[in-house]
Symmetry: D3
Subunit: 235 residues, 6 copies
């Protein structure tokens, strides 16, 4: 049994509130346990310089945390003059994940900015950001179809992400902060509704892990992602 | 009659949700019309270098906007490497305003950080931040009293802030974004429950204004602040 | 009686030296007591991106202090990598103030940069910068008229600024540094020759203030600004 | 057959030159095909603030590229004022990987900086940096044992890293730049001599991938890493 | 004959106003032709970390230009986030030059900051800064002797600097901006009253120069510096 | 006799490896004693804004040091957010020196970037960078002639640089780090094959120097540069 009474293969309660910030082309508030992330999708009628003239679009992501999303206050990155290494790593991951299911050639020369801002952080913020970011992206793309800016939805399929880890020698699904900070192995898995992977990142900070453990964790992740995709579909 | 049907001397509906981010020592979500700001108060057991050894505390504020709090996306300041001039101006205002009603000598050598993060911006974000920031500050100070860290509440009295302006030649209370952007004169007033001022800032961007107009706007502000202090007291 | 023997409603001696830096389109050295500020106006044949194509011009201001303008040396802001919050606040104030009396639509798509650099700081540097900045701006605009770049002076009227404050419970005009640092209330007033306000900023850092005190300070400011506008006119 | 005539499961020729920069406590030049990376290990008798007083050490890594390590010149990151997202991601990966096989509690309160500087980049620079970084780290630790600063080698076992990918639908080992840039899936695997994983990162930028493909790539990586560990051991 | 009617071996009129900014421990306004530089010396009772505990002092310099010291406005370096290469080069030169005649071991663990701020730039600002900086330094050191902080003047002898160059094939002394910008060779010479060199920097930007030309320029410089040291002595 | 057994007028062994980084248009590894610098020349088909439209080209240089090129690790400048003063000074020197022998009008509107990265630093890195940079530049220009991008070599003649200094009262050629750090006078001389100077920089940090010493040092430098130019020619 885990701190919060869950089974090893059980995810925390998930709520997705679509349209949370109505000014955005697409938006969602995603809550997984105590973790809360606002995701918005903003359409820009331009692409980065290196894509100009190719007729293709782009999806990019940014990630931030409110200073008091954490249990003690975290300094704003703007006051250190630059995003930290962790922020860079996370926003690159979100962007790659969402691009893997987006038909960029169907977007036209447009960019969609996914902003993921963490209101409350209790583990799994990056995977929540991907899951909620997909909802914001889908809503924005749907609006573009409705407004006849594009002919069809350029999303190949639903996509979600979940964390898994080895904690006290056991594989566990959807780690909360307390579990995450004592995990021997930490894994983030991004999967599609069809059961394919967009990204697998598995890290042993304090120790290494075996192929068997890797497979155990992937199995847990698969079930976790399936639950999340259900939640996405129900809205 | 105004865009949203209000009278000239009428404020927008106000909701204050105390304890919105429970991890913080004090917090509140303040909503004034469509403007929504999360305010948190975080206690730090240290003061800036120039105050060390004096036995006094400090209250400081920071202000940020989610990229999609605005109707079109605003670039994150962290990616420009520094907070902009407007951000500096606002966070200095919030800090001064809250310090004016705080007995810093009763705090001990402690600092309280007020973080004001705008989820949705429809005019009046800086005044909402002061009104909500006071609630977060009061809750944090109350917790300090409850935990017997300090003997008594070091707040002299409630404090709130409201915007006023001259729009199409008429004085108007609590401007929404659309009114603010075509106002001839823009004023922010920070007042205490006792009817004294902590700050008056009145600016004619496109034209100048008379003493009579100044007095008219102050009168409107007085009534608006009274309504906000009522809302603060009811929680 | 004040430290320097002045009456409560008396400003310090004022000297304005027009054309102090002849390379600039307009310039002035303004001295108010020991405070000395060089103001220059530089013409640029371009406007910021967001104004392009609208046929209107812009006036913007920057403010700096020599490291040894203060009684102990102040670190150069360039070595901290960015202008501080106080600098941002001041240069935004100077820009707004000067724009409030400038007919931007008569400028053409041109920008005038007002640079205010403090050689010696003894209180009131921001108000001196506005008063001297107006002179530099007027001289630059006059040169543009002389060179037939514009048909008529796009300045509606003279404008100057002065500080006032409550010190030891009494309203005082034109605070020097020593008075400013122990003032209970600090106010900056920007007014036109016609007696209208461009900006009123009144701040209680250590305590709040009443409407009566506000009115007293505005009255003092009115007389102070009148003296400064006389000095501007005499040159 | 691949561009350079290799089999799908064949790595490029590897050369490791230990002691390449003799001033460093440990160093190695690693060459894998045309990719060349200088790795150094520098000992510092101090740990980051958050580790102080705990008696444990730390291993951290930094990564850089010479401007002309790439086929067209890349701007120096110092001139953009900050390391980019990719640099952050890579140096965090190298640090984590090397810490996973280091007994930090046996180091004492010391930090070892691993610097990986790419002279020539032809794909696989981050994995080469890990493989070469391990050699530099081992040499520095050996010197510490020789100098009796520590009692025994705090490295649990050899560690190396290799890239794999899906290119034109086929799994391939040790991608060169040309292959990497058209790979559908890109994977970096960090493994120990004992066959355990320190990190698995698998990314589908343009498309997703199946569990079967993941397993195929892991199999290739296992053989590749074994070859690299042989090269490490032979020196 | 030169643009301004001078002989090839003639310096521009020099005026040095000591005590120009009375708040500083030492200060001078130096004017050489149209070039005007304010130099101040500020005493700090501390030395940089790497000198601490050695009983020696330090002299360091910073250099800045007012935005409108130049004939067209120059952007403030603070707004580019860092001092440019030219600024670094100049302030390092000024510091080295002044340290070469200062007995740092007689200063105690104190630092003197020399700030050189250019009001008007017409060539030779760096050499004027050295000549005026020496005056500011000498005045500050004299005050320290007067206040019995140090037993004797720690300056070995007067020091001044001048520019020379090859213009249209002829050696010329004390170049104004117009001459400097078309000079084939540009040289800055820092010399003591005793005729020794503290620094010689001779640069051929558009062409190279012979030993004979070098000697010719050094001869001119020697006479120019002698004139400047006379001006220093007369105050 | 010197630390390493050399005569006062003897340079350290020199090796120049042309084409060290074959991806670059021109490259060389230069080794002078223990000092090792990689120099590359990169062609860009564009010039800086202020040169555009004039038909002329430009040569610019950048300089960096690997963190462990020094005997104790040096922090990367990118992590301080900007190149330091020394870096600026050196890269400006390299650029000026190479431009002095380049016919910029024969280049067309193209820029050549010279990158000098120090692998190992034992004194004389900036002069080695100039000597090796000239080789990289010459190779790149030769390639441009071979590719018929330009009609003839736009280099007027070979150019090299060497350090000299006064150490323990004696003039010495080609200082190693240990000599450099205790030199009373430090000089860098950039000369052409024809015996003319491109740059002479002579600095007395701890004391001043006489004309006689200057001449002695120039004489040593002349012979040292001749040896380096021989080495350049032999490749």
């Amino acid at each position: 049994m885990r701190t919060d009474g869950r089974q090893h293969d059980e995810i925390r309660p998930v709520t997705i509130t679509p349209g949370f910030l109505p000014a955005a082309e697409g938006s969602a508030l995603i809550e997984i346990g105590h973790t809360k992330v606002i995701c918005t999708a903003s359409l820009e009628e331009a692409v980065p310089g290196w894509l100009r003239g190719g007729g293709r679009g782009w999806v990019t992501a940014e990630y931030g945390m409110l200073p008091r999303s954490t249990s003690t206050r975290t300094q704003r990155e703007v006051n250190r003059g630059r995003p930290g290494g962790r922020t860079h790593e996370i926003q690159r991951l979100i962007g790659r994940a969402l691009r893997s299911v987006t038909r960029l050639d169907k977007l036209g020369e447009r960019m969609i900015h996914i902003d993921c801002d963490v209101l409350q952080a209790d583990g799994g913020t990056r995977t929540a950001a991907i899951t909620g970011g997909w909802v914001a992206l889908a809503l924005a793309l749907k609006q573009m179809v409705d407004f006849r800016m594009i002919a069809e939805m350029p999303l190949s399929e639903p996509l979600a992400a979940i964390s898994v880890g080895m904690v006290d020698g056991a594989a566990m699904l959807d780690l909360c902060y307390e579990e995450d900070s004592r995990a021997e192995v930490d894994m983030n898995v991004v999967m599609t509704a069809g059961g394919e992977f967009a990204e697998v990142q598995s890290t042993g900070e304090s120790r290494t892990f075996t192929l068997h453990q890797l497979e155990q964790m992937l199995e847990l992740a698969k079930n976790g992602v399936a639950k999340l995709i259900e939640a996405q579909r129900s809205i």
